[in-house]
């Protein structure tokens, strides 16, 4: 019984050892999925900066101008309503 147990354990260890040895790549080569050093630097996408810069400044100016215009438009309407209401109150 003891011999059989020892033989089973020994064969399991041998099997594990052989599997481990098979999974190791031979020295000097990379395994599938390892990091591989890049020998040459690949070209990176180069976006021109000027369109982005111009677009940013245009957005700032447009946002401020549109906001000032919207205040002016609302102010005109309110002043018109105010003048109209004052006339109606005075006419009472």
């Amino acid at each position: 019984m003891k011999r059989r147990v020892m033989a089973t354990i020994g064969s399991m260890l041998l099997t594990a050892g052989s599997l481990l040895a098979a999974s190791q790549p031979p020295p000097g080569t990379a395994a599938q999925g390892d990091f591989v050093p890049v020998s040459a630097v690949q070209s990176v996408e180069q976006l021109p900066a000027a369109p982005f810069l111009i677009a940013a400044y245009v957005v700032v100016w447009l946002a401020l101008l549109i906001y000032v215009w919207s205040i002016w438009r609302r102010m005109k309407k309110i002043e018109h309503d105010l003048a109209d209401l004052r006339k109606r109150v005075q006419s009472r």
Binding site: F52, L53, A56, Y57, V60, A63, I78, L85, R92
Partner: protein, 218 residues
Amino acid sequence: MARAYTPLVVLAMVLFAVAPVAVAFAPPEQVMGLIQRIFYYHVPSAMMLFLSAFVCGIASAVFLFKRSARADRIAVSAGELAIVFGLIVMVTGPLWGRKFWGVWWQWDAKLTSAFLLWMIFVAYLLVRRYGGPGAEKLGAAMALFGMANVPFVYVAANYWRTLHPTTNVVMTLAPGMRGPFWLCVAAFLLLYGLLLTLRKRLEDQRAAVEQLYLAMDE
């Protein structure tokens, strides 16, 4: 203030006309190059966003505790300006990021918290516009919450890993960059004061219209 308004408008226009020239003569940044010049409008806009949040929050606190209608009108005006300057920040930032980082947006601590701050003030104005009775108090509470967020947004890049530069950048600017930057800050600050005054005047007119309607009903 009424007499000083027109000269101040002229001064603001002069500053905004001079600012791009000053920016053009600023030295180029070594790593980012031309795209770094967005910094001269992006950062002052962010400063005005933070300032708007503080003005709106403080005015809302005065409204809540002292029932001051004038403070409420200032709060609404500042809330609207927070949205305008926040929009400028949210557009100029990604334009800069697309060129320098290679991405339009990144859900990191700085950008996400800045976006949330902007959204809080968008929600503030929606509540004020469509909230019905009691909207002023609910809006005031939201404005206080928004104001409390500002310090977190400011230090987010210092304490969390983000793509965004840290707050050290402004304090360590090269000598040739300081002049144009602080000129732009002065221009934006003056413009902010003028816009706030103008917007508050609109609210004052609206309040006068409401008073007249009430007088007519009586």
